[in-house]
């Protein structure tokens, strides 16, 4: 099965109104070519799942500036002033989620779990409207799974089967969102033959990956 496609073919999976999870932390580990291609195709009304909205000229921050997204589910927007402006103007819905909770909600969706229990957010606005459970005398919030239609990853080295190695701090949310979307697209910095990437160094197994592009 040939998973290698052009950027354009890869992005053709994304339709208006879909929920798209994107890897990266403040832009580090974000597939910039895929981000740019979505803007170029004039796709609109996406719901974004990402750690943050990066910067106005980097990562998914460009989606905010170009009005690709109508809703975002993120932990931090402080480095992108356009996100705050659109939020205050009522142009963009923003759901802020504690970073660890965000990671675990996505992981739960990918792992087939019905949710996770976390102490994070107890006694804060984060607990509003959520079920609380007590386990061994400690109070937890029930946080529900978070799944996407599409996941966009950046892999540093990807073999032709779709096994991924992430360099240094670019790993962040990439291997987690790889498990929690219907279609998983990886933008490779480098594509290698099957066997060139040692099976021990694989961080996202090919079974999660549908499309490889670069």
């Amino acid at each position: 099965m040939n998973k290698i496609k052009t950027i354009d073919e890869a992005v053709s999976h994304i339709k208006d109104g879909m929920t798209v999870a994107v890897g990266g932390f403040m832009g580090a580990g974000t597939p910039e070519k895929l981000v740019d291609a979505v803007i170029a195709r004039n796709i609109k009304n996406l719901t974004l799942i990402c750690n943050d909205t990066a910067f106005t000229d980097k990562g998914v921050g460009k989606w905010v500036v170009n009005k690709v997204v109508s809703k975002i589910i993120v932990s931090h927007i402080g480095t992108n002033p356009e996100t705050g402006r659109q939020m205050n103007a009522g142009e963009l819905k923003v759901e802020l989620v504690p970073q660890g909770t965000l990671a675990e909600r996505i992981r739960a969706a990918g792992a087939g779990l019905g949710g996770i229990l976390t102490h994070t957010g107890i006694g804060t606005v984060v607990e509003e409207g959520k079920q609380k459970l007590t386990v061994d005398g400690k109070e937890y919030l029930l946080e529900l799974p978070l799944k996407a239609d599409i996941a966009l990853l950046r892999g540093s080295i990807v073999d032709k089967k779709g096994n991924i190695y992430y360099s240094k701090a670019t790993r962040n949310f990439n291997p987690i969102i790889a498990t929690a979307a219907d279609v998983v697209i990886v933008e490779a910095e480098k594509i290698v033959e099957v066997g060139e990437l040692d099976a021990t160094d694989v961080m996202t197994p090919s079974v999660f990956v549908d499309v490889i592009t670069m």
Binding site: A28, N51, S75, G78, G84, T124, V126, R171, N174, P175
Partner: protein, 221 residues
């Protein structure tokens, strides 16, 4: 009390550094807490965590030597020390939430006498998002607040926080330019005074009730 802005910072971060023990895994918040790394006492070997996905956070690289694949939690270029390790965000917060992080040092907008912390938003003004702060404060074994005692003269240590909370009842220690305050089950206890500072000045700059330790010392900074 200390007037000079730089001296205030120095006193706070030096004193926080004294709290760290050999072998500690520590997360330093953005801003002033980051400076604590410059004052780690000799012979104390600590490991710094960067919540975007590694332990072994090193110094900022020199201009021209930045590696775009190594950034800190603020997205700025940084480095990793020998013996460090990279991982994904779920592992990063397993470390934070699972009781593996010894100390987190953060700034605050407000802290109160029940150990509640507000440091992530001012409604209508500043809503950057909580990032990893809520997990850090809820999960770290020890939560140390490093901040100036007042904001433009107004107390930040209150009877009750009125800004949205980051976490409830999780703060252990408050280090300011005026003193060191422990959060105990009986309220706030002033254990140390900053140099050139009096107990009366601290009480005057604090809205919360302060108990004064019988063994009140002067900060060794």
């Amino acid at each position: 009390m200390i007037q000079d802005k730089d001296r205030k910072r120095e006193v706070i971060v030096k004193r926080v550094a004294e709290e760290l023990k050999d072998g500690d895994l520590v997360n330093l918040g953005i801003g002033m807490p980051t400076l604590v790394a410059n004052y780690i006492p000799e012979g104390i070997d600590i490991l710094l965590q960067s919540e975007n996905g590694f332990v072994g956070l090193g110094p900022s690289p020199e201009a021209g030597n930045e590696d775009p694949d190594i950034v800190n939690a603020g997205g700025q270029p940084t480095s990793i020390v020998p013996g460090g390790a990279f991982f994904d965000s779920a592992t990063s917060f397993t470390i934070i939430r699972g009781g593996h992080l010894d100390v987190t040092v953060l700034g605050a907008l407000q802290v109160d006498q029940e150990g509640n912390l507000a440091n992530w938003m001012i409604p209508g003004k500043m809503v950057p998002g909580m990032g990893g702060a809520m997990d850090l404060v809820a999960g770290a074994k020890r939560v140390i607040i490093a901040m100036e005692h007042t904001a433009k003269g107004a107390p930040k240590i209150l009877k009750k926080c009125n800004l949205p909370l980051t976490a409830k009842g999780e703060v252990d220690l408050i280090v300011t330019d005026m003193g060191v305050i422990e959060v105990t089950s009986n309220g706030l206890l002033l254990t140390e005074l900053a140099p050139e500072t009096t107990v009366e000045e601290v009480i005057g700059a604090t809205e919360a009730e302060l108990k004064i330790s019988e063994n009140l010392k002067v900060m060794n900074v």
